[in-house]
């Protein structure tokens, strides 16, 4: 036999007991040929293009799942930032486009479609403004559409007008979806250094430099890494921990590489990237926080957490980079609070605060993710939180993001429930001192000296 019995058993155990899966196959589709002068014409073109291009995505994913015996959890689509596609529409409200995307996604059996997006790190065009103004309405009127706004980059600095606007957009979106704890905000990301080939929601869009159609793969497997670390025991030193994570990451990523190549071939699309991210789910054992705890922290958030996360994130990249032919996307461990059972426990026990999470984002992707905050938090305070996170991304030349939910009517200690992959989250307290004069100054924080690399 070309494989040992133990190798075969190991793979089977990873899938059946440790939640190894392909987190997402995301088909990036260019919509640059869907422009028009009326928003309805554009919507119609988008609907037609999506349904005709992505018709085989779900059937192909199911086929691969059956043949290779590795579950593919999500099938998703990312599209060209809609602000670009809808630039020449005379109408200001772009909600009909979001509805067309939503309808296409429902018809195709896809759980999320990303790309209701604008790239405004340096300034706004008419399309950008119209898109940002349409976000609250679009997210409350649709189920599956995800929006993102890139408000900063290492090269451009931080567009503080956009940051303040997004504070208000987030508040408004939460109000419009108040009946469901502000779930609209769970589909809205503010980025610094957004990447063009990210397969993960809610921040996926199909960047302007991408091919006509591209398959990007997001892998997973916190449960597998967790088991490996627990098995090493308390005696293993950091070199041994890193080595074990690297080996595991290699195997997980190879599964993604195989599925990605095969998916691209069957869909007739270019193979884009493997995103080397450990992405948790609310399922028990499928948690990043539990990995950090397995390294010897009583709770995620205890002193040492940032160092543990750095080790994990780096080892995953080292193992994964060798396993994949093209690496891209966000590529780092995710720490979404509501989607990770261990994070939820740490936050409700008071071990994990927003400030600690902010520190953790310095060493991993992607940012302050799926954090519920009190409903009475002001738009200016939210803008301040966003600005801080953008600063971390801009200075460290990395992607950072904010996906935060000011849960209407909730206060610190309450719980919000989103259900499904989005999970549930304890409402975390926010520093109550005021930053409104600062965030209202407007203009752009200049790019740091790190941007002068030429």
């Amino acid at each position: 036999m070309s494989f040992s019995r133990d190798e075969i058993i190991e793979t089977i155990r990873m899938v059946q007991a440790e939640n190894l899966d392909i987190r997402t196959i995301t088909l990036g589709i260019s919509l640059r040929d869907c422009t028009g002068e009326s928003v309805f014409e554009v919507s119609e073109k988008i609907y037609r293009k999506l349904t005709s291009t992505a018709g085989s995505l779900v059937p192909v994913a199911k086929e691969l799942e059956a043949e290779f015996g590795i579950p593919i959890v999500n099938k998703r689509i990312s599209v060209t930032p809609i602000a670009i596609v809808a630039e020449s529409c005379r109408e200001k409200d772009l909600t009909p486009i979001a509805e067309a995307m939503d309808n296409a996604a429902r018809e195709l059996g896809i759980d999320f479609i990303g790309g209701f997006s604008a790239l405004v790190q340096k300034g706004f065009t008419r399309g950008d403004i119209n898109l940002i103004n349409s976000i609250p309405e679009a997210l409350s009127a649709t189920e599956r559409v995800c929006a993102s706004v890139n408000a900063a980059s290492t090269r451009a600095g931080i567009n503080m007008d956009a940051v303040l606007a997004m504070g208000h957009v987030i508040k408004k979106t939460a109000e419009l979806t108040a009946a469901r704890d502000g779930i609209g905000c769970a589909k809205l990301v503010v980025f610094a250094n957004a990447v063009e080939d990210n397969p993960f929601m809610a921040g996926a869009f199909h960047g302007p430099g991408e091919a006509e159609t591209t398959v990007n793969i997001g892998i997973s497997g916190p449960g597998v890494v967790n088991t490996v670390i627990r098995r090493l025991g308390e005696g293993a030193d950091f070199g041994e921990l890193a080595e074990a994570v690297k080996r595991t990451a290699f195997k997980i990523t190879r599964a993604g590489e195989l599925i990605g190549r095969e998916a691209a071939r069957r869909l007739g699309a270019s193979f884009g990237v493997i995103d080397l991210s450990l992405a948790p789910t609310p399922a028990v054992g499928d948690s990043i926080a539990n990995i950090l705890e397995a390294m010897g922290l009583e709770r995620c958030g205890a002193p040492g957490t940032t160092a543990a996360l750095m080790l994990l994130n780096d080892a995953v990249k080292k193992g994964g980079a060798m396993a994949a032919s093209y690496v891209g996307g966000l590529s780092g461990a995710f720490i979404p609070v509501s989607e990770d059972a261990g994070m939820i426990r740490a936050a409700s026990d008071g071990a994990l605060t927003i400030e600690k999470l902010e520190a953790m984002t310095c060493v991993c992707s992607v940012g302050l993710d799926m954090i519920a905050i009190p409903g009475d938090t002001s738009a200016e305070t939210i803008a301040g939180i966003i600005a801080d996170e953008m600063a971390i991304g801009v200075v460290n030349k990395k992607t950072t993001a904010v996906r935060i939910i000011p849960a209407p009517g909730k206060k610190a200690g309450d719980f919000v429930e989103f259900g499904g992959l989005l999970g549930r989250a304890p409402v975390m307290p926010v520093n109550s001192f005021d930053s409104s004069i600062f965030v209202r100054r407007g203009g752009r924080i200049p790019p740091p000296v790190q941007s002068l690399t030429n």
Binding site: M1, S2, F3, R5, E7, I8, I9, E10, T11, I12, E63, A66, E67, F68, G69, I70, A211, E212, T213, K251, R254, A255, E257, L258, R265, G268, A269, S270
Partner: protein
């Protein structure tokens, strides 16, 4: 004249099985693989472009079948019967039974299989249920990718 012919160009081409391009055209590898999978032959000038390797990765030949459950009489017989009926050849088989937990792993050749892989899987699962064991079938590539560099 098209200088560069990409995957998208071929996708939008709905002519016959022969695509003639002017001499000097550059055709990306991705485009050539896609054309080969659709059975389109590409001529640049008068020269036929060679199919890139692997043009069509050969259809799955081997699969790994694993059986886990409580040991009892007739598990191997039951599973092999399903395989034999569908013209699947067993290449290798290993089994252990430790403290009543039975594990069996088979490597099989499915190139001559008379039903689709999905159907075979379902038949095996059903048989597994009647034997109260868990049966899984996966294409061999998964193990090759995960455990070999």
């Amino acid at each position: 004249m098209e200088i560069l012919v990409t995957l998208d160009t071929i996708k939008n081409y709905d002519g016959s099985e022969i695509l003639k391009l002017p001499p000097g055209s550059l055709v990306t590898k991705e485009a050539r693989i896609f054309a080969a999978s659709k059975g389109i032959k590409i001529y640049v000038g008068n020269e036929l472009l060679k199919e890139p390797f692997p043009a069509n990765s050969p259809p799955a030949k081997k699969a790994v079948i694993s059986v886990i459950g409580e040991d009892r009489v007739g598990i191997i017989a039951g599973i092999s019967e399903v395989l034999a009926k569908n013209n699947v050849n067993i290449l290798d088989i290993t089994q252990t039974s430790i403290e009543g937990l039975f594990t069996m792993i088979m490597v099989v050749d499915i190139s001559g299989c008379t039903v689709s892989f999905e159907d075979l899987k379902k038949l095996l699962e059903d048989r597994g249920k009647s034997l109260s064991v868990r049966v899984d079938a996966q294409r061999e590539e998964v193990f090759r990718f995960m455990h070999r560099i």
